[in-house]
């Protein structure tokens, strides 16, 4: 792999991330403790420390299209153990947000992205999560109709899947929050 670094682009991207992150990329000295402890590192295409370095070097395309940013489960193991107190989990949030803002759809981790989107839609319309609706819409969108289907009957039997949900009564305020911050 070879990357020609364009200083202007590098600086723009690094600064965009830093300003959203409220942290400095240069703090990272690449010890790799984040990657060492990451529970989902084995599925990632780049380790978290590589993502940090690539962000610093302005490799926006590669970072924003990576599997890593969508596979991160925000368990915060990395941030907790980072000797430099760097916001490792935080940078994943920032990169996901930038990717979404730029309209980049994850090619490999579409399900994760879709799940988050469906989830937020559900919050937007109900104010709370209606689990049955959430699962249903997610399955429709991803066409994984039958995955996990065998769980459903038993869950219904145990009373875990409710057939209706309580909505937030002041749903206008929820709509306003979404309008103000979306």
């Amino acid at each position: 792999m070879k990357t020609v670094i364009n200083e202007q682009e590098r600086r723009n991207f690094a600064r965009e991330v830093e300003s959203k992150l409220h942290d400095k990329l240069a703090k990272c000295y690449q010890c790799g403790k984040c990657s060492a402890g990451c529970p989902v590192n084995f599925e990632m295409d780049f380790t978290p420390n590589q993502i940090i370095k690539m962000t610093e070097l302005g490799m926006a395309d590669r970072v924003l299209n990576s599997k890593t940013i969508w596979l991160c489960v925000s368990c915060n193991t990395c941030s907790t153990r980072c000797p430099k107190g760097f916001e490792v989990a935080g940078i994943m949030d920032v990169l996901r947000e930038i990717a979404v803002n730029r309209g980049i759809e994850s090619k490999t981790e579409k399900e994760v992205q879709t799940f988050h989107e469906v989830f937020l839609d559900n919050v937007k319309s109900n104010g709370r999560i209606f689990e049955l609706e959430l699962v249903g819409k997610y399955k429709l969108k991803t066409k994984h109709l039958f995955r996990d289907m065998f769980l459903a009957p038993k869950m219904i039997e145990k009373g875990k899947l409710k057939m209706h949900s309580d909505k937030v009564s002041d749903i206008n305020q929820i709509a306003k929050i979404f309008k103000d911050f979306e």
């Binding site: 010890c31 790799g32 990657s35 380790t47 193991t77 153990r81 000797p83």
Partner: protein, 660 residues
């Protein structure tokens, strides 16, 4: 009224080429108070100096101004000449018309104007000069060394061999410090106790060294050449002069296997009456009163007393306070290792086979708990795979310290090497971030561990250690290949960061020396005065200043010693007289000056009436400690401190001379 003589030097054509020296002299002669102004080709030459001396004598001068080269060149030359004619040396002032005029300007008119200005300034200043006497401080030619580790031992021996008496104070029951706990030392792999023990014995037997072990510094007062120290000699419960070190007492102590050995870093046990290790110096036991049954159970147990042939055990001995006068002090208080239990993810304290680097030293050592056979603390089995983790606590501003501990790269390479030597077919893995091997032979040593002993180095940190079926699963990263790696190890050794000895900040406060935010003592100048503390007469050595290895610790001990021998080579300590002095009539005792003084040179003085009642408390400048920086002058709200040689009125006179 002032009688000033002015000399304008040509410096050949160096000055005369650009400055109209005749005109400068003519202008000078017009200044009131100037009795004569002359120009001369080379003032620093012998004839030049004679001209100066002659005029001082003939014209009965009260002050001299030379317009010449930088005072850093010849101020001393002219001062010496003045002294020969009975003039106080501080009545010589120099207007620097070479470095500041002739060499840096080209326009002769403007250069001459400037030269006249500079000369005028000095004439006005010298009119306000007052005689200054250099300060002479008597010296007590005896040194105190605090800390009996390698750097303290080196300092003590060097001073003692220079013919000066030394008092060595060590907190622990034996001298030897951390170095005596080590097995072999990098990069030569010579056995630590083989090179250390003879030095310890030499200290013990040296006629010029008085050794106080199991003792602590209690109080320090005074200043360079004249320190008064109080040493607390903690009660050993042994009459030292009678003890033969036979061992009958500690062999019979019923507290066998009950107390963790400090020397073996908790890997073995000791008794309540004990010597920390067999080669201890002095070989005199001490009773640990916090665990001894005699003290805990109201005097019932006295087995050691019964077993002791010379009957040198005395349960009633009390702490003693010893007072000494010394002229100089070496602070060599050493270091501690960070607490590994801060790292919950590494399971230190939870998993028995996760140990510290110092513990591994003890496992390697022939005098250690396993007699040099590497065994796992959990089950005594010989480990086949060991994972070494570097930078545990170091370079970790979140949980540890941000600095590099400097010795860990090297001792880890040594550990891996010795492990390969001791256990054939074994395998070491070393997690590192950067390898710092910068001294002579170090890089080759580390390469040797990789290339010849087959240690695998992985660039990355470890995140977590799990226990699984008697193995330690080490989950780390290899950032070079971009992989998460898991290694099943039999043992994990943590290269723990170095921190200052516990209480080093208190010690610094007692000594009046400065220390950094971690507690390491700071040097008077980081490059040029590395052996001196910020306080005159107190010197630094060893890890108390910051992480360093054995050779550097030895060098620093010797450096401190040579500074002290140099100090003691004169009959008195001389300080330039340009120091601060307090006007005790106007001082209001706010002591803001104390807060800015970097030398702890300002003390409180009580002004008493005839009956001994304290009228007020004022600042007093200790001439032995004052370095003459003048920060206190600037800090004083009541304008009660001034700096000799740079008095307020002198500076104002200089400024005034420039009035247009």
């Amino acid at each position: 009224m002032a009688r000033i003589g002015v000399f304008v030097c040509w410096c050949g054509s160096n000055i005369a080429g650009t400055v109209d020296v005749k005109r400068v002299a003519e202008e000078a002669a017009k200044i009131p108070g100037v009795v004569e102004a002359v120009d001369y080709k080379y003032m620093c030459s012998d004839p030049g100096q004679n001209t100066l001396r002659k005029m001082i004598k003939d014209k009965n001068l009260t002050g001299v101004v030379l317009a010449a080269c930088s005072p850093h060149m010849h101020e001393n030359t002219f001062r010496k000449a003045a002294v020969k004619e009975g003039l106080n040396p501080y009545f010589i002032e120099i207007a620097n018309i070479r470095e500041q005029v002739s060499w840096v300007h080209e326009d002769k008119e403007k250069a001459t104007e400037k030269a006249i200005d500079l000369l005028k300034m000095m004439v006005e200043k010298v009119k306000k000069n007052k005689p200054i006497e250099d300060v002479r401080v008597p010296l007590t030619k005896k040194a105190l060394v605090i800390g009996g580790g390698i750097s303290g031992i080196q300092a003590a021996l060097d001073i003692a061999n220079g013919g000066v008496e030394v008092i060595l104070v060590e907190k622990e029951p034996s001298i030897g410090g951390k170095m005596i706990q080590l097995d072999e030392t990098f990069p030569t792999l010579d056995c630590s106790s083989c090179i250390m023990t003879p030095k310890m014995v030499e200290v013990y037997q040296h006629p010029n060294i008085k050794l106080y072990t199991y003792s602590e510094l209690e109080e320090v007062s005074g200043y360079i050449g004249n320190f008064n120290v109080k040493i607390k000699k903690k009660a050993r419960s042994i009459v030292e002069k009678d003890c033969t070190g036979c061992g009958d007492c500690w062999n019979i102590c019923p507290m066998h296997k009950n107390v963790k050995s400090e020397f073996n870093v908790n890997l073995s046990e000791r008794t309540a009456i004990y010597v920390p290790f067999p080669q201890a110096v002095p070989l005199i036991p001490v009773i640990d009163r916090s665990v001894c049954l005699h003290y805990k159970k109201g005097g019932k147990c006295q087995k050691c007393y019964d077993a002791c042939g010379p009957k040198c055990i005395n349960f009633d001995l009390q702490d003693e306070i010893i007072e000494e006068k010394v002229g100089a002090i070496v602070a060599a208080t050493g270091y501690d290792l960070m607490e590994n239990s801060l790292y919950g993810e590494y399971g230190y304290g939870q998993f028995k086979d996760v140990i510290s680097g110092l513990q591994f030293e003890r496992l390697l050592s022939a005098s250690g708990p396993t007699e040099g056979v590497v065994k796992r603390p959990s089950d005594g089995k010989t480990p086949e795979t060991i994972v070494f983790i570097q930078c545990v606590g170091s370079r970790d501003p979140e949980k540890g310290v941000p600095y590099c501990s400097k010795v860990c790269c090297m001792y880890t390479a040594k550990h891996a090497k010795l492990f390969a030597h001791k256990v054939h077919g074994s395998q070491s893995y070393v997690f590192y971030i950067d390898i710092r091997a910068t001294s002579k032979g170090y890089e080759e040593f580390v390469r040797g561990t990789m290339e010849n002993e087959g240690a695998i180095y992985l660039r990355g940190r470890v995140s977590k250690i799990y226990e699984d079926n008697g193995k330690l699963i080490v989950k780390g990263a290899d950032t070079l290949s971009g992989n998460q790696v898991e290694i099943a190890a039999d043992m994990v050794v943590l290269a723990t960061g170095v921190i200052p000895k516990k209480g080093s900040d208190k010690m610094a406060q007692m000594l009046g020396i400065s220390y950094d935010k971690y507690g390491f003592y700071t040097e008077s100048h980081p490059k040029l005065r590395p052996a001196e503390s910020s306080t005159a007469g107190i010197y630094l050595a060893g890890m108390a200043q910051g992480p360093r290895d054995i050779p550097e610790s030895v060098v620093s001990g010797s450096a401190a010693a040579s500074k002290i021998l140099g100090l003691f080579s004169k009959s008195e300590y001389e300080v330039e007289g340009t120091i601060a002095s307090v006007n005790k009539t106007t001082c209001v005792g706010c002591f803001y000056c104390r807060r800015v003084c970097a030398y702890s040179a300002i003390s409180k003085e009580e002004i008493k009436d005839r009956n001994g009642n304290v009228l007020k408390v004022v600042a007093n400048v200790n001439s032995g400690l004052c370095a003459g920086c003048g920060a206190c002058v600037n800090a004083c709200f009541s304008k009660s401190i001034d700096l000799k040689g740079y008095l307020d009125e002198q500076i104002f006179a200089e400024i005034k001379s420039l009035a247009v």
